[in-house]
Amino acid sequence: MSKATDTLVADSDAVHDDHHHGAPKGLMRWVLTTNHKDIGTLYLWFAFIMFLVGGAMAMVIRAELFQPGLQIVDPNFFNQMTTVHGLIMVFGAVMPAFTGLANWLIPMMIGAPDMALPRMNNWSFWILPFAFAILLGSLFVEGGGPAFGWTFYAPLSTTYSSDSTGLFVFSVHIMGISSIMGAINVIVTIFNMRAPGMTWMKMPLFVWTWLITAFLLIAVMPVLAGAVTMVLTDKFFGTSFFDAAGGGDPVMFQHIFWFFGHPEVYIMILPAFGIISQIVPTFARKRLFGYASMVYATASIALLSFIVWAHHMFTTGMPVFAEMFFMFATMLISVPTGVKVFNWVATMWRGSMTFEIPMMFALAFIVLFTIGGLSGLMLAITPVDFQYHDTYFVVAHFHYVLVTGAIFSIMAAVYYWLPKWTGKMFDITLAKWHFWCSLVSVNVLFFPMHFVGLAGMPRRIPDYSLQFADYNQWISIGGFAFGLSQLIFLALVIKACKKVGEPVSDRVWEGAEGLEWEIPSPAPYHTFETPPVVK
């Protein structure tokens, strides 16, 4: 790939031609922009702010659960906190953060001048803050905000919900429109904008995983739109999709929701797999082990994600045959996932490893995500799930895959590419503090949840019986510590955005491979206006 360098230098010299435009100044730069790097930055900042807002809600939850009994908030508000925490973290933090990374990186990785549809790119981003303004605003209307859990099961979201459900439904519609447009942009960019020579099986894995993620998004976000629409008509227009008296079925809601919901959880992890597959080879100074198997494993996971949804519903009384089918289909997913984990380990095997901050997060990801994966395998076993269902064991499981999985991968990605974005090395001391504080506290936070869950503590309840008190105090302390640790990250990112620090080379990391490391640091406002040739 180093042969591309000549073209690239020529490219950056030739940027001063007639209709070229550099970065404009002021606030309107960000509002009107069509530049993939600007929009990536907007997505990432938005995701970070939402991460802190959703995190603040988690702090409320953990404060209430610090001791048994009701002390700080009333149960209805507690329910709003669990609901909106989940919605914000899924749709406001993890997904926009991955979309931000996709915007920044995919054009640079495949040698494209920008995303394929730059104006629509801007639209996909700017409708998101409005959607979350509506969702957060709904907390202040009479009767309170959504309090039915992020999964909004009927009849909690229909018969028993407050008026604000109307606002919830339309804000989810906007989030869906944003995701669909973003995903269309990613797919079209990858299909149509690759530089000459950038064949399918030369694409970096981050690009591959995002391509498959984007396909999942286009396939399932419209189903979510259908689900919220049916909730809207059931609540406000007298339909009975989810009401047995009219021939419907509340369990049908769960089928439709999880047909969206299960691919959705892979939407939140596949780009993470891509990030780890970029970082591990760099710091092991070896090529990724089993590139092709990584691609096929990603595709297999995506396809399987469409036939496992009912493992979220083992206790709804499905026929035994269906329970068996969904159990085995779910267990099958551990095969391609295992392929990935083994490939990462094999990449590191006998590599000349160094442990820079991105690699630390990547290693933490591999270990801790695997814990989450294994508890997922336990939950997949139908008879066992009857015991675990809706307990803190489930909460532990999905926080291991989403926090130490998705979120850690996002942090790894930020540390890995931040020097390329700003041209300066971030504050390594702060980064180390951030890593170690996060690593310790996140385990104090989520690991004991396995124990209280197995012992039977139900999720989404503001009170608990006395025997869970000790562990819950530990969990809350871990929670507060993890929350505070993220302020270190905030300080680090602000510092990096002010471009304080040592200048970095174009390649930044010694072992880094790929087109994005061939261009100058910081990456110029426009890259690859004429495509490089990839050998």
Binding site: P113, R119, W123, D163, F170, P222, F236, G247
Partner: protein, 292 residues
């Protein structure tokens, strides 16, 4: 090898996306408030906010499309950009397919699972006996477990006529497209005009059918899961036909202005794909909502 490369057009800053974002915000807030106010029998600002949002969206669409048309006519677009648009449109249509799939899924679930189970099928004998005694599973569900009654919408008559209308419209639109590709302007305008009239005719008959359902059959949106799926599927389809017809009308005027050439007419192609898609959805609807 770079001399061959046609620069990919990356537009400079554009005001339209943010206008569109504000429009969607107003539409969402307005629609939500309208719905909430109606259910509480209050009057409020919801409808006005909604109208303002739709108006803003219209302004955005006009402005954005005007930009696009000017750029396209100004020769800024490359073949590669044309492929981006075509692929983008195809994936958008796929997302629409999945949206309808959610409602078809609800229909199939009701017909094959929830209604039979309420009637005691599978291992649900006690559900039927204890919770819904006397309820008999049937489709169309003209008597719900809760006791609401309605009548079946027969596929004969209006639905069949509408099916024929839409199928013909797909053919006429195809011939319009062929006319465009072969530079036969007269064929293009006539066939496109006929397609638009067929679309309007379909919508007119659909309204007639709804009036018939509400006034004579007592089949309403509230008539249990049969009425729910019937009106949600045909209703969303009708909204798509309305949008498709509007797109075709805009295309008609653009044809009159001479915007399209045999090898540069993405907008026409996209509108035509959209129309064919809406047509296929109707065929599925006709089969599973009306006939079977």
């Amino acid at each position: 090898m770079q001399q061959e490369y046609q620069r990919y057009y990356v537009p400079a800053q554009s005001p339209w996306p943010i206008v569109g974002a504000v429009a969607l915000f107003l539409i969402a807030v307005g629609a939500a408030n309208t719905v909430i106010e109606n259910s509480n029998n209050e009057s409020g600002y919801g409808v006005h906010i909604l109208a303002l949002g739709l108006l803003t969206l219209l302004v955005m669409l006009v402005g954005w499309f005007k930009n696009q048309i000017d750029e396209s006519m100004g020769g800024l677009y490359s073949d590669q950009l044309g492929r981006s648009y075509r692929q983008g449109m195809s994936w958008f249509i796929f997302s629409e397919v999945m949206f309808f799939a959610a409602f078809f899924g609800a229909l199939f679930y009701a017909r094959m699972i929830s209604v039979p189970w309420l009637g005691g099928a599978s291992n649900n004998a006690m559900t039927n006996e204890v919770l819904w005694p006397g309820f008999q599973a049937m489709w169309p569900l003209v008597t719900t477990p809760g006791g609401t009654t309605t009548q079946e919408m027969s596929p004969a008559g209006l639905p069949t006529i509408n099916t024929i209308i839409l199928l013909i419209s797909s053919v006429t639109l195809h011939f319009a497209h062929v006319g465009l590709e072969q530079g036969k302007r007269r064929q293009l305008t006539t066939m496109l005009g006929v397609t638009i009239l067929l679309g309007i005719g379909f919508l007119f008959l659909q309204v007639e059918e709804y009036i018939h359902a509400y006034q004579e059959l007592g089949l309403t949106l509230q008539s249990g899961v049969y009425g729910n799926t019937f009106f949600m599927l045909t209703g969303f389809h009708g909204m798509h036909v309305t949008l498709g017809t509007l797109i075709l009308i805009v295309l008609f005027f653009r044809v009159l202005k001479g915007h399209f050439t045999p090898d540069n007419h993405f907008a026409f192609q996209a509108g035509s794909w959209y129309w064919h898609f809406v047509d296929v959805v109707w065929v599925m609807l006709y089969m599973f909502v009306y006939v079977l």
